[in-house]
Amino acid sequence: MIGTLFGVSSLLAATSGGINWHSFFFLLFALLACGLAVAVVLADNVVRMAFYLVLSLGATAGLFFLAGAEFVGAMQLMIYVGGTLVLLIFGVMLTAQEPFVAIKTPARDKVLAGIVGGGLLAVLLQAAFTGPAWSEAPADMAERTLGQVTQPSATPLGMALVGVRVDGDVASGERSPADGNVRSGYLLPFEIVSVHLLVVLVGAAYLARTKRRKAVAIARDESTTGGVR
């Protein structure tokens, strides 16, 4: 549905000769994401930080959609926003005692961080504009945004995850000029990540377990036996 929306907008833009709705929405989502991210930094209240983060990541999902990566966008919303950030909010909830809700940072650190961040941003921005091909959009972008040229990414991703690459020119099984090999799928990373997730689960559960009060137990035992063992 969103795709249709986008398609309509871009068509409108093309016909009206005015707004490129793809660009408009990109700008909207980009500003949302960046602005909310900045808000995360600027907010003092950790709860508000969490909220802003949720919104920021949602906007990022929108960016993903506009880039034609619907599956990734969907996963972003589901896993990232709906899972990870919820987890984060749980954490916030657990630790949001009065003194910890809004811990102030010394101003000096903020300035320093601002400078460092500014430097990093400058470097990255400079890198972003170095690739000449990156500034231009492909010729048939309008069709691509409408989903006419490209295929939806869910199925190829799913297939890739089980080891069959069906995307791009490789569908025919030709070698990729990049690496010379027949591209393999992501089966192995998929399995690894699965195990990884299990390990994480176990580890996190263990790490966060409630520690038994050993001292209390020993004291109780001593009082009952009445003496050194």
Partner: protein, 873 residues
């Protein structure tokens, strides 16, 4: 048979010589273990020297059997043979005197030694007529050698000395060093004098060993030496040194016999020095006493001064002649021919010259070195030798080489002066009395000091008239000075010491005026009576515990043996006897000396002083000897303490006294051919029977008369009566002063005070030597010491100080720079670590910042380096 006898004699006497050395070695290593406190070492030593005596007597007997000496032609001796050849000899000798005078007329100032062929011929005939029982003719020949150690064989000299025959055996046992120009060997030269002296030395040594066994009994236990005061006060207490005494005595006997048997001057020199060392040991036997150790040093050093001259003489002989052997050496060369290397005697008195003294070829050539050089440069080497040989006699006639011969003679005599205590080297002998009395008896009266006279006698053929005159004058001066000093001595041993010096002067005087037999005869008799006198004085000292005659007196009753034997000795030394009938041993020897001196004065009137010195000396001798005897044994005891403890010595000490007194009486007598004079005549060197005229280098020309001429009646009678008168005068004066007390000696001493003081201070010889030699030596030593301490030590101290400073600088460098560097490094590392530690703050946010900054920096650097264009896939 000849050479058998030579081998026999050399073996016998060689053994007799070496046995005391074995005794020395035995006592050296095992002395303290020989019996309690080493008591038996005395018997080892005595047994050794006694064995040597037996061997010497056996050799003597062998000699007497094989070469019985001719009876001497002295009519007025107690001679059983009874021949009187006086007039015949007088005629012969008058002829020779005439010849002497004619020869004298031909002398020129540049000396020419003339031989007397006519006399030789006359003597030779005389010799043949008298001694028919000898199987040898009066000619010289050498036997072939039979193998000995080394290639040198025995050689036998037979020669006509004019009064019998000269028979001498010489050979070598062992060559210490052999090179083309020099052979140093240990060998022998045995003639009748050697055999006689062996007997004399071993006999006296045996007596003294027995005597010393008793005299030295103090050393068998710990000794408290009252003449040594320690720094802490009190007297020295030391263990006894009994074995050491006999060890030194044995070594001395070995050395002395080595001199007697020596066949060459090098061996003589070796044993000369050895005897000197033994004397040093023995004088310094009580070495803790400063006086004794100083006296030992004095003896050795003064002897060394004499040895310096001896070395010059040795060098002159060896340099010019190439050999130091007395006799000829016969060897067999490669082709089996006999090669005879002439010895000194043959070189200086060759047979071709009738054994008259002439400057040997070697010395002539050495003196004419310039001309020899000219010849050698102009003529080829083969011809040069022939040309030189032709020229030699001409050069000799010009007097070339005479100086060398004189230097050789004077040099050797210098050594004899030192050893025999002639003026000016006499100063050591009185001080040598610091040694124990047996030492004085053996070493410093009878044997060692006689070695000088013995060597002069042995070396006699080489001495020119110049040298002989010098010897005579030195002898005369010595006898006079020593006799005057003995007049005022109060130490009993000092008197005897100066008496020894005086008698040695007599012997030298005798040799110097041509009395070869007379001088050596006196040597033999003097050995007997002087050792007797010393042993008697030792007995007295032992009894009185003092040497001072002023504390003695009236000892005759308590010490009869000592007293009467000492009287025998005194009579012997003054030459007592019934004139022309019989006398003590000294009578005969002193008579012959005075006769020869008188003859010399007759021939050379300008040298009359020698005769007066001899006669005056005889009077002085009699005076001081009897002064000694009277003061010691006659009259009232002057010190009651001494008189209270006086007792006769034990028989082990008195028996040798008696034995020696017998010899002191009888040594001058002859029994048939058995007599000292006969034996000595047999040993007379070839060519010395005739007189010599010559000289002119050191003195005006002088004639040394033939000794036979002194037996002429006129001379002999005068000499005998003079001797008797002077001796009697001396005894009477001594009796007047000390027995009858006609005059008090003390009054004379005060009246003639300057003379008395002069004599009491021994003519100030010691003081003069102190000023001339000792003080300058001390001055130089102090200069050297100051130089050493001031300059050299300062340099050393400076060097040490510099080293210390360098070390200090080094230390500073090490501590501050080297260690500082290390420490600084460590500190820097530590400090850096401390500082860097703070980077790790543990603060998470900071770490993130660093990550970011680092990433940015790397990115910037990489982009700058690669002039980044990001690759576009």
């Amino acid at each position: 048979m000849e050479t058998d006898l030579g081998a026999t004699l050399s073996t016998l006497l060689g053994l007799a010589w070496l046995i005391p050395l074995a005794s020395f070695a035995a006592i050296l290593f095992f002395g303290p273990k020989m019996g309690p406190h080493g008591r038996n070492s005395a018997w080892v030593a005595t047994g050794a020297i006694g064995t040597s005596l037996a061997l010497s007597l056996f050799a003597f007997g062998t000699w007497m059997v094989n070469h019985p000496p001719a009876v001497a032609h002295h009519g007025d001796h107690g001679d059983v043979h009874g021949e009187d050849h006086g007039e015949e000899h007088g005629k012969e000798h008058d002829d020779s005197h005439a010849n002497n005078h004619s020869a004298e007329a031909t002398n020129r100032v540049a000396a020419r030694l003339v031989r007397f062929a006519e006399e030789q011929a006359a003597e030779g005939g005389h010799g043949d007529r008298e001694h028919g029982d000898h199987e040898h003719d009066g000619h010289e020949h050498s036997d072939e050698g039979h193998g000995d150690e080394g290639q040198h064989a025995d050689s036998v000299e037979h020669g006509d000395t004019g009064h019998g025959e000269k028979i001498a055996y010489s050979g070598d046992w062992y060559a210490l060093y052999r090179s083309p120009s020099l052979v140093l060997s240990i060998g022998w030269y045995i003639d009748s004098m050697t055999v006689l002296l062996f007997v004399v030395v071993t006999f006296i040594a045996t007596c003294i060993h027995v005597y010393a066994t008793g005299y030295m009994h103090d050393e068998l236990h710990d000794v408290t030496d009252h003449e040594v005061t320690l720094a802490a006060g009190g007297h020295l207490h030391r263990p006894g040194r009994f074995p050491r005494f006999f060890q030194a005595l044995s070594l001395f006997c070995f050395s002395m016999l080595g001199i007697v048997i020596a066949g060459n001057l090098a061996m003589v020199f070796i044993f000369w020095e050895l005897v000197g060392i033994c004397s040093w040991f023995l004088i310094g036997f009580y070495f803790e006493r400063k006086s004794a150790s100083t006296a030992a040093n004095k003896a050795f050093i003064v002897n060394r001064v004499g040895d310096f001259g001896m070395l010059i003489g040795l060098m002159a002989l060896w340099g010019a002649l190439g050999t130091l052997h007395f006799g000829d050496t016969v060897s067999v060369d490669a082709e089996g021919h006999q090669v005879v290397e002439p010895g000194l005697f043959s070189l200086v008195r060759p047979a071709e010259n009738g054994h008259a003294l002439q400057v040997p070829d070697g010395m002539v050539v050495a003196a004419a070195a310039n001309r020899v050089g000219n010849i050698a440069s102009t003529v080829s080497p083969e011809d040069a030798r022939a040309v030189i040989a032709e020229q030699v006699s001409g050069w000799r006639a010009m007097g070339m080489g005479n100086w060398l011969l004189v230097v050789a003679g004077l040099g050797i005599f210098c050594g004899c002066m030192g050893k025999s205590a002639q003026v000016p080297l006499h100063v050591w002998l009185p001080d040598a009395m610091e040694g124990p009395t047996p030492v004085s008896a053996l070493v410093h009266s009878a044997t060692m000091v006689a070695a000088g006279v013995y060597l002069t006698g042995r070396f006699y053929p080489v001495l020119t008239p110049d040298v002989l005159v010098v010897i005579a004058y030195i002898g005369a001066i010595t006898l006079f000075i020593a006799a005057t000093i003995a007049l005022v001595c109060t130490d009993i041993k000092r008197v005897l010491a100066y008496s020894t010096v005086s008698q040695l002067g007599y012997m030298m005087l005798a040799l110097g005026v041509g009395g070869w037999v007379a001088g050596l005869f006196h040597l033999v008799t003097h050995a007997f009576f002087k050792s007797l006198l010393f042993m008697c004085s030792g007995s007295v000292i032992h009894a009185c515990h003092t040497n001072d005659m002023r504390r003695m007196g009236g000892l005759l009753k308590k010490m009869p043996y000592t007293g009467w034997t000492m009287l025998v000795g005194c009579l012997a030394i003054i030459g007592a006897g019934v004139p022309f009938v019989i006398g003590f041993s000294g009578y005969y020897s002193k008579d012959s000396i005075l006769a020869q001196a008188l003859l010399f004065r007759q021939i050379n009137p300008s040298h009359a002083i020698l005769w007066y010195a001899a006669a005056g000396g005889a009077a002085l001798t009699a005076f001081y000897m009897f002064r000694l005897w009277f003061m010691t044994f006659i009259g009232e005891p002057r010190d009651q303490e001494v008189a209270a403890h006086v007792h006769e010595s034990p028989s082990v000490m008195t028996t040798p006294l008696v034995v020696l007194s017998v010899m002191a009486v009888a040594a001058g007598w002859s029994l048939g051919s058995l007599g000292v004079v006969n034996l000595l005549e047999q040993a007379r060197p070839l060519g010395t029977a005739a007189g010599m005229t010559g000289g002119g280098l050191l003195t005006a020309a002088v004639t040394v008369p033939a000794e036979a001429a002194s037996h002429a009646e006129a001379i002999h009678v005068t000499a005998t009566w003079t001797a008797f008168a002077t001796a009697g005068l001396g005894v009477l004066l001594a009796a007047a002063f000390y027995v009858w007390r006609v005059v008090n000696p003390a009054v004379i001493a005060t009246t003639l005070r300057p003379v008395y003081v002069f004599l009491e201070n021994k003519w100030y010889f010691d003081e003069i030597y102190n000023w001339i030699f000792v003080k300058p030596a001390h001055g130089i030593a102090m200069l050297a010491s100051a130089n050493d301490r001031g300059i050299i030590d300062s340099i050393l101290h400076l060097a040490a100080w510099l080293s210390r400073q360098l070390a200090a600088i080094d230390a500073w460098i090490d501590r501050f720079l080297v260690d500082g560097l290390i420490n600084t490094l460590a500190n820097v590392t530590w400090t850096m670590g401390l500082r860097l530690r703070h980077v790790q703050t543990g603060r998470l946010r900071q770490y993130v910042m660093f990550i970011v900054v680092g990433t940015v920096a790397i990115f910037l650097l990489a982009s700058m380096m690669l002039s980044a264009t990001v690759a576009i896939p």
